[in-house]
């Protein structure tokens, strides 16, 4: 059974007529890394948010199946507990709430859902330390307010760190490379690769504007999204072709196919 199956997905901005997704089809299998590439405004970030359950978007047609079960009617928190994790393009700062408290609440909400015993303070710290060590993150991180005063790179690293602690079945990486210089990008990508090596069961949907992230995170499958639809699917060489030739040729190809 596919991990994720998106069928003819249409979505608009809730309360408006602004249609953003216009029939997305996508199937991901366990352990695969898929990349979605596209220009700004093509709908790829919206797709991530719709999968994660953001209520600012309304699904008007089609379905999203996660392990064969429709999640379209589920709240964001239910989807998270089922194993969907969105690493945000713009992680928010939450003044007054420490990363430690926040993450423990998240981990235990998910464990409770899976009928697993909740982690106590000692067990939680052990888990956190293990993941920090793996990703090379300082311990002081945990006592700071979530993302407060973090640089762009730190915020993205925090997303990957949270993913490691929460341990989802599907990681959605929404433009994780945006705003990062090459060194920061390498660190973040290495973290993701380490997580991928460690757990080959987890699947990844990597949304990016540029090919450079895919030099570090090598996708099994690459999709191109234009105007709310996936118009072309190929292997990792497609990303290289896009880097070299831009998006216009795919657009033309898609137009002539209609």
């Amino acid at each position: 059974m596919p991990v994720l199956e998106i069928k003819n997905l249409h979505a608009k901005v809730a309360g408006t007529d602004k249609q953003i997704l216009k029939g997305v089809d996508l199937t991901m299998r366990k352990g695969q890394i898929h990349a979605i590439m596209g220009k700004n405004g093509s709908g790829k970030s919206t797709l991530c948010q719709v999968i994660a359950g953001r209520e600012t978007y309304e699904v008007t047609e089609g379905d999203i199946l996660f392990h064969g079960q429709s999640i379209v009617e589920m709240s964001a928190e239910e989807r998270a507990r089922e194993g969907v994790f969105l690493a945000f393009q713009y992680p928010v700062e939450i003044p007054g709430v420490s990363t430690s408290y926040f993450l423990k609440a998240a981990v235990n909400a998910i464990r409770k859902h899976r009928s697993e015993p909740e982690l106590d303070a000692v067990q939680f710290i052990k888990l956190v330390k293990e993941k920090q060590k793996m990703l090379g993150i300082q311990e002081s991180f945990m006592n700071r307010a979530v993302n407060e005063g973090f640089s762009g790179g730190e915020k993205k690293r925090n997303e990957v760190f949270q993913l490691a602690v929460v341990n989802p079945l599907l990681g959605l990486l929404d433009e994780t490379d945006s705003g990062l210089d090459i060194d920061a990008l390498k660190i973040v990508a290495e973290g993701i690769n380490r997580l991928h090596e460690q757990d080959s069961e987890r699947s990844w949907l990597v949304v990016t504007h540029y090919q450079r992230l895919l030099n570090y995170i090598v996708p099994d499958i690459v999709h191109v999204m234009i105007d709310g639809k996936i118009v072309k699917t190929g292997d990792k060489t497609l990303a290289l072709a896009l880097e070299e030739k831009g998006y216009d040729w795919v657009e033309r190809e898609a137009m002539s196919a209609v």
Partner: protein
Amino acid sequence: MSVIENDRNIMNDTKPANAVLDPIRVAAAEVFDRIGLPTGKEEKWRFTQLQPILRSRFIPAEPEYANDLFDQYTFGKESSVEIVLVNGVMSRELSRLSSLPEGLCVTTLVKAAANKHADIVRQHLGKLVDLHAHPFAAMNTRDFGDGVYVEIHRNAVIESPIHILQITLGNDNQAVVNSPRVLVVAGENCEATIVESYVGQGSRYLCNAVTEISAADNAKIDHCKLQQESQASYHVANMQVKLGQGAQFVSHAVSVGARISRNDLEVILAGRGAYAALNGLVLIGDVQHCDNHTLLKHAAPDCPSHELYKHVLDGKSSAVFKGQIYVDQIAQKTNAKQSSKSLLLTDTASIYSMPALEIYADDVKCTHGSTTGPLDDDLLFYLRSRGIDFDAARHLLTYAFAADVTRRIKVEPVRRRVEDYMAAQHGLPQDLRINDLGAFDEDVIR
């Protein structure tokens, strides 16, 4: 004419004649008879509807037993000094004043005025509050019952918080008015923490409180006021503070109860280098209304003051914040910072926030800021996308918003009561504690 009539006979019957207090009461009665209660048209009362209070016919509250409320609100072992008043009358059974630490005197005003403290009472009582400007305070001065007298001797350092628990019991058949009165006289170089709790039950009553605090040079007073009156009641409170040279006063005022509440808090920084910090937290919902009028009067040079008021408004509640900073011509090098922040949990909640700066010195630093808004949708989604459910996410963000004020409250039982109240208000059993959040830089907290 106001309908809060005073029946002089009742007053005279229930209070012992007292050579110190009686002239003060009589003078206040004369002022009150002349000015009456505000009509609501006055600038100071423009945003607070007084009709419900004015329409009620109140009678003075009779002393009654209040064991349930006491059990709920006592500090128990967490304070060795607790004075409990029920409808203005001190309860001997409930109060714990037998083993006061050295340098501390806590008793009723009536008693203090009749013994060796009479001169100090005469010297301070009613001296800080301008009755002509505060009609409710005039009414209180006319009507107050036993009253509370707290004296901290010079150089005394009182470790345990002094808890003043004011219980008002309403009466189902007739609205009652309780007039709690507190006088605190803090000597030079002393240190003390004073907590005033205002609680009550019953369908309709008015608690009309006045507190005066006189802090001598270099005294350090940490004051908490926790207003948890019955949701159907009215609470009007006037607090006046005067600070000598180098004196420090930190106030934490938390308002959660009462249908309508109004607090006037006025601090005069009268001596060079005095410091005042006013922290306020308003947590209301439903159709509650809470009005805070504060005044920081800089009357001496080199005085810093900080003010932070936060409002969490649910339902159709409304709040008023008027923060006045007055800087006298001689108060050079004043450094005053004021901030008011409001979180509106519904579209129907509202806040009027009005800073007012009046500055007559030329070498001063005064800043003020005000923000108002709903819970941030992006923050809510972020938390939910990590598996935290909507109610818990909303609670966590609200809690974190209020934590800016609550984390500064050093008195553990007060902070816990605020936290418990917030959890209960959002229907959550989850016992979120400030220490859990652990995300503050303690260095910046005074």
